[in-house]
Subunit: 345 residues, 2 copies
DNA sequence: TTTAGCACTCGACTAGTTAGAGTGCTAACA
DNA sequence: TGTTAGCACTCTAACTAGTCGAGTGCTAAA
């Protein structure tokens, strides 16, 4: 469905005005502020048409109009022009990454904070998911006589450790030997491979040290299973308190409760009705998550070598500055992809 | 300052009523609900006295009275009788600890959740602080030809790892040797000791592998410096949204912003005007943290072998159920102390 | 097709009124 | 002397009109 030019202009003006004012917009306001060369009466007629078509609606008879979900959708798809950040803005953003980075988590957190600060909405970041990680190294490190540390390293750089008790009968050389055997047999394998075949084989070789071997295998399984940064970062939750649509404490509570649940955040980020690549905008009722019908979400993925490994998103009221939010989200994912490549080489 | 019995009874009744209703309490209500054997008129006289003494106040002429900070203080110090949890309640709480505990963090989180759930206020937990931790073990684990993992273990069970690049010239045996030397020289030492004396000594022995040695020392320093669970856990922040005193979105924002800052949480927990042991109740204006004047905090410490290593607290409106909150906080710290002892043996 | 004019609608605001809760004071009572 | 009943008084919350202004839809003229 395409609208004639004047209707488009009116719709655009209305949405723009509503986004910044949060008040229903009347025909007069549009005629005055936006130079369309026609009188309020004409605009009224056009607005009546737009309402019939479902792009805008009227809260009550004597109020102005506000965009409907459908109106926003049309705006996002057809009217909004994508901006690029200016050099200036890019610099400001990139300067915030100049911190001591201990692990990838820091990078994600900084990213998250930048997004929520600039957009003034809530933002979420999902850490990289490697659907298959393989065992790179396993090592038993003797600590005291009766304790050792199992260290497991995966090929995507994740390290996990676990303390275990040792039986008296074992010495450092045994531990070294066990490590060697496990590495020889298991290195490079995925969780499935490890489970499937080799356990028994090693079992016989290491039958004497069943206890230790079991502990090590446990940790290996746990580590390979644990999807690394399977963690969702959340930032700027309090920003919603600035939005006039959340003046009602009940609404605040509903939304904040939702955002507390990792499951929900995952759902927001992974809900892929549109292609995996590019920006994904969900407006109001388009959100499948119950209770998010007054919000819009803008999500996008970041990649390594074209492979999607994680995603980020922004959550705001339906009356959201889509132009700005989309621009930021796009820039952030692009930059994240670059940084990921550097990080994992 | 001590009050006569009838005044005490009236104050107690008033506070009790106000805690549960959040509405100013009138003389009539007290006479009807609480069987004091006197008429509302008498109670009015007594209440006028109590107001003169500063224990209660009147929001406006034709309203009932509400307790002042001073009134709450008197209640907490003199009128409130400490309860113990019933066997039943204790069981319910303890059953929640039956989860797979990977590290101490889980325990603290569960504790926090229990507290906020039962009290219906916000609760915070500060992880154990060991003011001095010593190096238990350091190990270089070869991964590939050009990478190794530095593993550092402290005597209170904290493990940190870091990936380093290796020069071509080094082999596994070298790494093993370096580990041995470092352990021989540094094991059991504190950060200060390590800094002070031995660096040079080892340096000469390991001059060939300066690069690796430096990386290891870096991690050791970082690890010993990092105060283990130097982390504050926060739970039940949304509970404040149920409190009628936070119907105003601005107040919500102020408080939630405060609670977002770790620094503030630390301040709440570590603000020791009263002795370290036992329960510490701060009512309204007694809180030194700016913006917390409408809240009360109840904090307490947990210990190992009588040594204070961490603290927990509950934050709620001044109109708080002190009896319940104190009981819970006390129980939780006692139980935490027990669990810590088991955990760190 | 556009526009000016006009009657109409509805929410926001204001002012006035009422009902009710609670107080303080006074005088009577035990 | 302490307690109580009675009463006048105060103040807020809730309700009711009444007014204003923003905005609309419709009609008729340009």
């Amino acid at each position: 469905m395409t609208l004639d030019e004047r209707k488009q202009k009116i719709l655009q003006a209305l949405i723009k005005d509503y986004i910044s004012s949060a008040e229903p917009v009347g025909s007069r306001t549009i005629a005055k502020k936006y130079d369309l060369g026609v009188s309020p009466a004409t605009i009224r007629n056009e607005m009546a048409d737009l309402e019939d078509l479902g792009y805008i609606e009227q809260p009550h008879t004597s109020a102005g109009r506000i965009p409907s979900d459908r109106g926003y959708r049309y705006y996002v798809d057809c009217l909004m022009k994508k901006k690029r950040l200016t050099e200036e803005e890019q610099k400001t953003i990139l300067s915030k990454y100049k911190i001591k980075v201990r692990d990838i988590g820091n990078v994600l957190q900084v990213t998250n904070n930048i997004m929520s600060n600039i957009t003034n909405y809530t933002s979420i970041v999902l850490g990289p998911q490697f659907n298959q990680s393989n065992l790179r190294h396993v090592q038993l490190v003797p600590l005291d006589n009766d304790k050792a540390l199992v260290v497991v390293v995966t090929d995507n750089g994740m390290v996990q450790t676990k303390m275990i008790d040792l039986p008296q009968t074992i010495n450092d050389i045994d531990l070294q030997k066990i490590s060697q055997i496990m590495n020889a047999k298991l290195q490079g394998l995925s969780l499935e491979d490890i489970k499937l075949t080799l356990i028994k084989e090693i079992y016989s070789e290491l039958s004497k040290h069943k206890h230790i071997f079991n502990a090590a295998i446990d940790l290996i399984q746990e580590t390979l299973n644990l999807n690394h940064e399977d963690k969702v970062y959340l930032a700027g939750t309090l920003n919603i308190l600035n939005q006039p649509e959340f003046r009602d404490i009940k609404k605040v509570k509903t939304l904040l409760s939702l955002l507390e649940q990792e499951k929900v955040l995952m759902e927001i980020l992974s809900d892929k009705c549109t292609p995996e690549e590019g920006i994904n905008v969900k407006i109001g009722g388009e959100n499948t998550v119950e209770g998010l019908q007054n919000c819009s979400t803008i999500t996008a993925t970041y990649q390594i070598d074209g492979r999607v490994i994680g995603s980020v998103g922004v959550i705001g009221p339906t009356r959201m500055d889509y132009e700005k939010a989309v621009t930021i989200v796009e820039f952030m994912t692009q930059h994240l992809s670059l940084m990921m490549r550097d990080f994992y080489r």
